[in-house]
């Protein structure tokens, strides 16, 4: 057994803690994340809860935990759906080549021109702000990223002789993609999923910061940031808590992605 990369271990631990907090928030939080208590407002960390309380006396730790569920949930669903569509486009382009490939890649270029914020503004006008709008806007942003990465990886696999052997066994493009190409690029896809989920968290925070994400009272890290900026002097913990939550989660996912990449780097070890 080779030694695991440090980034993988640290990234996996951080990610596990965040996912654990998100899941735990569904069954238990220290206090009700929506329960107001005007008397105990803007309390610093310590006496009134580990992370203190906010401007209307809600327990900050509880909101952070519930917000983890919102942020991770939206980021994961958007990345999986957008990544799935992008992967399908990428491997199809690699398999078919020619005109279809050029069409897919031009379509990608068009999608790539829409950052999540812009998509969210357009979609928000149609659907109104909310979780679905965030998922679609972030998902659209994921499609071209995955299409590029998987196309490049799949093209390399298509050049291998075991693909020629599969062709001589009478297998078609779709079957070869399922049986040979996807299993051999799965490592790259998993790495990309981890890193892009991190970007998804950032995008979700950005959208809810701008008021285009989930609506109150659903807890959200981005909205916590925007609501607490006016209390920066009186209660810096209100800004620090969601800020650190976002930064640490994204860092954890990036470390996890980098660690997985190092683990699957062919230069690291045996052939194949």
């Amino acid at each position: 057994m080779t030694r695991l990369p440090k980034s993988l271990i640290i990234g996996a631990i951080i990610t596990a803690i965040m996912v654990g907090a998100a899941l735990l928030s569904r069954v238990w939080t220290p206090a009700d994340p929506t329960g107001m208590n005007i008397v105990a407002r803007l309390k610093p960390p310590g006496a009134a809860g580990l992370f203190g309380t906010d401007q209307i006396g809600r327990d900050v730790l509880s909101i952070i935990m519930a917000g983890a569920w919102t942020s991770l949930g939206i980021a994961v669903v958007a990345t999986v759906i957008g990544g799935g569509i992008g992967t399908l486009l990428g491997v199809t382009a690699a398999a078919k080549g020619g005109r279809l490939e050029r069409l897919v890649m031009s379509f990608n270029g068009v999608l790539f021109a829409f950052p999540p914020i812009l998509s969210a503004i357009l979609l928000g006008a149609l659907l109104g702000p909310g979780a679905l709008t965030s998922i679609i806007a972030i998902g659209i942003f994921m499609v071209p990223v995955f299409a590029r990465v998987t196309r490049a990886a799949a093209i390399q696999i298509w050049a291998r002789d075991y693909i020629n052997a599969a062709r001589m066994a009478g297998k078609g493009d779709a079957r070869i993609t399922m049986e040979h190409v996807l299993p051999n690029i799965s490592a790259q896809i998993i790495v990309q999923l981890a890193i892009q989920t991190g970007l998804g968290i950032l995008s979700e925070a950005g959208l809810s910061f701008l008021g285009m994400g989930v609506s109150p009272p659903t807890p959200s890290w981005g909205r916590m940031l925007s609501e607490s900026q006016t209390f920066l002097d009186a209660a810096p913990h209100l800004v620090l808590a969601p800020g650190l939550a976002i930064a640490i989660t994204v860092l954890g996912l990036n470390l996890l992605g980098d660690g997985l990449r190092d683990l699957t780097d062919p230069r690291r070890g045996q052939n194949g």
Binding site: R160, D161, Y162, N164, A165, A166, R167, M168, A169, G170, K171, H180, P183, N184, Q270, N271, G272
Partner: protein, 264 residues
Amino acid sequence: MAALLEVQNLSRHFGLGQGVVKALDDVSISLTKGEILGVVGESGSGKSTLARIVMGLDQPTSGRVIMDRQDLFDLSPRDLRKARRNFQMVFQDPYGSLDPRHRVGRIIAEPLHLDPRAPKGAARRDMVGKLLEDVGLSAADQDRHPHEFSGGQRQRIAVARALITKPRLLVADEATSALDLTVQKQILQLILDLRDEHGISVLFITHNIGVVDEICDTVAVMQNGRLVETGPARQVLDHPAQSYTRRLLAAEPRLDVIGRRSRR
């Protein structure tokens, strides 16, 4: 005897107009049952393009490939699948020709996809196990992954895969070039045994004259996509008619380790 494989006036051009590259230029060869034909030439002479077209992996610009009296490029997809059982290929690089994610048993059984009535389950396992033993490995090796094997063992696995549909023609594209000399000799012996036992014809593509000397009955010499000389191996190697063949022979380090096989 009627030819098993007949390549007629085959050309394959890449590019258009001024920049056209004639990878194959009006090449004709034929191969009878049980014959081992060596195609030799330096890199870029068109040998691999010839192999790819004969295997149906590439389309010729013009010319025909007749396998068993059927024009390969006239067949319906269904008939092509059927015809494909009769010819299989062993590739040069035993590291690139086996899918690292699949177990050996699955790799070897892959060409059975061509035959809807091929045995499944336990019968298939037995079939694969027997083939592994035929190529000098053990039946239990089918549960292992390619990375657990050496280059020579991998090439044996590739040969086993090529044999599972009981083909009549085996195309070996530089199949021994990536292997060291002793392993090379074992694979060549394996191919000779297959010919002697099953009457398989072999199109042996190589840049290595020593290998031609070792196993080929006839030889075709290629240069820049054209066939420059063809004939019985002994005659071409001992009395080359073309200056290119003489230069190719002179450039070849003698493989005294392998030595010359006495011919019938």
